[in-house]
């Protein structure tokens, strides 16, 4: 692979939103598919120490739900509704982590795919939270059961995919 694209996170103190920005060396039609087709989403979304199951991912106007399960059988569910899915430019959806002590800490996610020259794509995910505390709490829970020794499992996946291709 060529030089790695940087993942940029912007979260100003005291604000209810955060942005994740990343470029990909692939056309946006393709990047869009990896966000909208369940069998493709499943291949990259999960933290590496967990298995990820996309329980449902209905088209625009419908619901989605996925579950991460760790090696001890602890399951972490997430769900929401796809408000808009306009190929290949954007997806707008809600997002809620089911593991919180109370319901209703929902996030509005706007995912945009911008075409760049040379068949590249700029991805921007804007997450808008109901409060600053929600945002900061989300980020904290994300890192707790999120990114632990992920790389090894990803390498395995790449190899498997390459063999299939």
């Amino acid at each position: 692979m060529t030089t790695k694209n940087e993942t940029i996170l912007t979260a100003e103190p005291g604000k209810q939103e955060l942005f994740i920005t990343r470029e990909f060396n692939a056309p946006r039609e393709l990047v869009f598919r990896t966000f909208s087709e369940p069998e493709l989403v499943q291949r990259w979304l999960g933290p590496c120490n967990m298995t990820t199951k996309i329980e449902k991912m209905e088209p625009e106007g419908g619901a989605w739900r996925f579950i991460h399960t760790d090696e001890h059988g602890n399951a972490f569910g997430f769900h929401g509704v796809t408000h808009e899915s306009t190929a290949p430019e954007r997806i707008i959806r809600t997002f809620e982590f089911e593991g919180l002590p109370e319901k209703g800490h929902v996030v509005l996610e706007c995912v945009t795919f911008e075409a760049l020259p040379n068949s590249r794509t700029k991805l921007v995910i804007q997450s808008v939270f109901r409060s600053v505390a929600d945002r900061d709490g989300m980020v904290n829970s994300g890192m707790e059961h999120g990114a632990r020794d992920s790389y090894a499992k990803m390498d395995e996946l790449f190899e498997e995919l390459l063999q299939k291709a």
């Binding site: 692979m1 790695k4 694209n5 940087e6 993942t7 940029i8 996170l9 979260a11 103190p13 005291g14 994740i20 990343r22 990909f24 060396n25 692939a26 393709l30 990047v31 598919r33 990896t34 087709e37 069998e39 493709l40 291949r43 990259w44 979304l45 933290p47 590496c48 600053v132 900061d136 980020v139 904290n140 994300g142 890192m143 999120g146 990114a147 992920s150 790389y151 990803m154 996946l157 790449f158 995919l161 390459l162 299939k164 291709a165």
Partner: protein, 96 residues
């Protein structure tokens, strides 16, 4: 935050440095206080603001952790995109 890095300042002195209204400055200070980035100390009749850089570091730490989580996901996604681009075009149904 830059101004406060060198010395604690009272609220009026801070407000004098900005082109925005006194209430707007207070609002900003309130937010920074809630985030644990500032503390306000009462000294006699004056209220002084002090920067708390430990708070700033904490914020940077969790942000960096969260950024890494996404960076790792996207690295996986790079591989998947490479594979999809290398594969001959197939109808969606054949992609299972």
């Amino acid at each position: 935050m830059n101004m406060l890095a060198f010395q604690p300042m009272n609220l009026n002195a801070i407000a004098d440095n900005f082109d925005i209204s006194r209430p707007a400055v207070s609002q900003q200070i309130k937010i920074l206080t809630e985030c644990g980035l500032l503390v306000i100390r009462q000294q006699g009749r004056e209220r002084y603001c002090e920067a708390k850089f430990e708070g700033l570091k904490e914020v940077a730490d969790w942000l960096e952790q969260y950024r890494k989580l996404w960076a790792e996901r996207f690295d996986t996604l790079d591989g998947l995109l490479d594979e999809l681009m290398a594969a001959p075009k197939k109808p969606r149904s054949g992609k299972k």
